[in-house]
Symmetry: C2
Subunit: 181 residues, 2 copies
DNA sequence: CAAGGTAGTGAGTCATCACTCACCATGTGC
DNA sequence: GCACATGGTGAGTGATGACTCACTACCTTG
């Protein structure tokens, strides 16, 4: 297998592990085992655990930006924002991406991780601003709802239903287009 | 010093440490050193590191609920929600409380921590519902804004100003009543 | 002052973890 | 058929971390 393919495999495995247990709580041995390679080889691909984590964070934000571009299409304004919101809801189905985002916020005390996370968040903000053309107040509401979705995903609320979950989580988050529920 | 006083001291020290580096990233030695006690004594007060973390989480959510009751006073409806939002903004000044909340969301993969976090989040939701008497949609917007504030606090955005921070963070978050700026 | 409870610690133990070193196997160009 | 890059690992190492054990100093009560 080529190094490029391996790298992609490892990234997929790593995002799942780091999403669950966070930067500090995930061991490089775990990642290597799930990826099906030896742990020393992990360190041939990334010089440190932190470098691996950071490339996951960058990759994750990049995917969100890309999903927003694709979802928006030719739309602008509130229409564009609605479509991006829907696209974000679909990312919820693959919880790992959003969980990893939460883990990167939680790890911001580390200066390098903090710097990358702020930079990526800023890029996402500017892109949504550019795509929608809306004012700061609307953007703020949009991002606020996104952060609530992240938290709900972190708590795995939809798999632990209770009274408040029904109130907090609108059906739209639970029923992306492909469902029939 | 009595055990009760020590316990309060240790909780204060522990919240600062866990807020920074999270459940997995914080060592009991760190907590003990900052609290000014030996590490074995920590284990006489709480049986495990997890038990300490969980009591911090419960304590933190409790404080938010209490702050909301006090802030609301006799108000109801949107007026009540406004006052609670203002109270939450004041909690931002002591970042540690909000960061610890983020750390508890991030640690939800652990079944016990997850259960406690969901329970506390639910209690908070119900309390805001009761105090304000508003419908789910308004509550959702309120909590969404709160989660955005948590994330902004995690990224320490106000101490790393850049273009998007000015747009994302309304002056009200930065200028609680006691400021003069 | 004896007896016992309360507050507190020094010095471990055993597991885990990030990271390294020396090494092997399989092509591929010459 | 050999030099050499590419892809890959077994077996460490030194540090750290959660948790324990055996112990002391001090206070209170009779």
């Amino acid at each position: 297998m080529t190094a490029g393919e391996r790298r992609a495999d490892v990234l997929r495995a790593a995002v799942a592990e780091f999403a669950k247990t966070g930067y500090q709580g995930t061991s490089t041995e775990d990642v290597a085992r799930v990826a099906g390679i030896s742990q020393p080889y992990l360190f041939k691909m990334w010089p440190t655990k932190k470098a691996l984590f950071i490339s996951l964070v960058e990759h994750g934000f990049e995917r969100v930006r890309q999903a927003f571009v694709e979802a928006t299409g030719e739309a602008t304004g509130d229409e564009a924002l609605d479509r991006m919101g829907e696209a974000y809801g679909e990312l919820l189905r693959d919880r790992d991406e959003l969980l990893l985002q939460m883990q990167s916020y939680a790890a911001c005390d580390d200066p390098e991780i903090g710097a990358v996370t702020r930079r990526e968040f800023g890029r996402l903000w500017r892109q949504v601003a550019r795509l929608s053309g809306l004012d700061d107040e609307r953007l703020q509401q949009f991002f606020a709802m996104g952060m609530l979705m992240n938290v709900v995903a972190s708590m795995d609320a939809t798999n632990h239903p209770s009274q408040w979950v029904k109130a907090c989580v609108p059906p739209a988050w639970l029923a992306p287009p492909t469902w029939d529920g």
